[in-house]
């Protein structure tokens, strides 16, 4: 199993990791706060995490593989595993809820969960390189569809829906809305586990930032289109606003069910994201153990079952994703970045003392 990826693959992995999960329902809660100005929210969040990412990664010569030798490394691995496990549970439940609500209403959620988990496990077993290759194919196609979306929806756009732009009191609502997006955007920290799989250390920071920029641009386009086509009043009450948005595409009379085609492209991007999560969970717990772990199948099945047993209903899951995740995610992200910096500093110090001593 090869475990090396290129920088462009890292960019796509990061972009897909942030974007694929965020687009399901998050725009709804963002619009509830910032209304017609919501499309600006990702632009506010982006610089914060670019700065945090640059701080965390530091200089390329300070990067060394984390294998779980010291206590700090083990804690880092364990916390990262828990963080990704919670994100995995959240994502798989979001995916199965979406399929049950919109596509297969009479299929039991347990069956959908089992099928999704088995696919994800199969992908994760194949390794980072396979995950990266599949992600590149799916993400590029999906990004192209989103970039074309303004053209496909040209006949439905009404710019009055995003006016007034930046009215009185917008700053407060934008900041509040940004707070809800922090936890989701912070998932970029997965790059800290992928750093050591990149074949060239030069330009890793650039790849991470490019991935974030790509996901920000795509998210802004989607939110802007949702607002202009559906209007803030509909988006704030719609569980799957982007799905509702793509249902509005009707080019002539015979091309009016493009939503299914687009969902067929989107679903694999989310599966790629979850496969990467599961792969990284395995790495994290391996770091915590201090040796290579192989928990992919059991962990996937456990987390899949937990995605059903932990949430009584779709409403409880949405409540968790909208209001609990921003806090949980942010806490873990800040903690993990801090720990990574600490480990990096200690490695640098040890390296220096070895050089001076030897």
């Amino acid at each position: 199993m090869k475990t090396s990826i290129s920088q462009s693959q890292l960019t796509m992995l990061v972009g897909n990791f942030i974007f694929a999960g965020t687009l399901i329902s998050v725009p709804q809660v963002l619009v509830q706060k910032a209304e017609q100005n919501t499309w600006m929210v990702p632009f506010i969040v982006l610089p914060v995490f670019v700065l945090l990412l640059l701080l965390a990664i530091g200089k390329k010569n300070q990067l060394q593989r984390i294998v779980g030798e010291t206590k700090f490394e083990k804690i880092f691995g364990f916390l990262f595993g828990v963080y990704l496990a919670v994100a995995f549970i959240r994502d798989i439940r979001a995916f199965t809820d979406f399929v049950v609500t919109s596509l297969l209403p009479s299929t039991p959620i347990e069956v959908l969960m089992a099928l999704s988990v088995l696919t994800i496990v199969y992908m994760s077993y194949a390794g980072i390189e396979v995950i990266a290759r599949v992600t590149v194919i799916q993400f590029v196609v999906f990004a192209a569809i989103i970039l074309f979306m303004p053209l496909l929806l040209l006949n439905e756009i009404s710019l009055e829906n995003v006016q007034p732009i930046f009215g009185m009191g917008s700053v407060k609502s934008l900041v509040q809305s940004s707070f809800l997006l922090f936890g989701w955007f912070g998932e970029v920290i997965v790059i800290l586990l992928l750093l050591f799989h990149v074949n060239k250390k030069e330009g890793i920071r650039k790849s991470g930032v490019n991935g974030m920029i790509a996901s920000t641009v795509l998210l802004v386009i989607l939110i802007f289109m949702s607002l202009t086509v559906l209007g803030a009043d509909i988006v704030k009450v719609s569980t799957f606003p982007n799905y509702q948005l793509i249902q509005q595409i009707n080019i002539t009379d015979f091309l009016d069910r493009l939503d299914l085609v687009i969902v067929t492209v989107w679903a694999p991007t989310l599966i790629c994201k979850m496969a990467l999560s599961l792969y990284c969970i395995n790495i994290s717990f391996g770091i915590a153990k201090g040796k290579d772990a192989n928990f992919i199948l059991p962990m996937g099945l456990f987390l899949g079952v937990f995605s059903i047993v932990l949430f009584k209903s779709n409403v409880q899951h949405l409540e968790f994703a909208f209001f609990s995740w921003p806090i949980i995610g942010l806490l873990f992200e800040v903690l993990l970045i801090g720990l990574f910096m600490l480990i990096r500093k200690r490695t640098k110090k040890n390296h220096r003392s070895e050089t001076e001593g030897g």
């Binding site: 706060k33 347990e110 509040q176 809305s177 707070f179 809800l180 192989n294 199948l297 059991p298 099945l301 456990f302 899949g304 079952v305 937990f306 059903i308 047993v309 932990l310 949430f311 009584k312 409880q316 899951h317 409540e319 968790f320 909208f322 209001f323 609990s324 921003p326 806090i327 949980i328």
Partner: protein, 72 residues
């Protein structure tokens, strides 16, 4: 139903991890058989776990905090 699922996942996990460790399951056949029996019984008498109280608690505490932050 959810309890049944969990029991079967525990069985699969046990078998997979044990096989990885020992390269065979036969060393602890009784344990495996007991687990499979438990799984079969849980199929006959499906049970609920009620673990959703965890998320309910998280939503009531952290979720409420976020609500206060974004509305305050």
């Amino acid at each position: 139903m959810e309890g049944t699922l969990l029991v079967w996942v525990i069985i699969i996990t046990y078998v997979v991890l044990h096989r990885k460790k020992e390269k065979q399951v036969s060393k602890n056949t009784i344990g495996t058989m007991m687990l499979i029996l438990a799984g079969t019984l849980s199929l006959l008498f499906p049970f609920q776990l009620g673990l959703d109280v965890i998320i309910e608690f998280v939503n009531d505490t952290l979720g409420s905090f976020t609500r206060t932050v974004v509305t305050g």
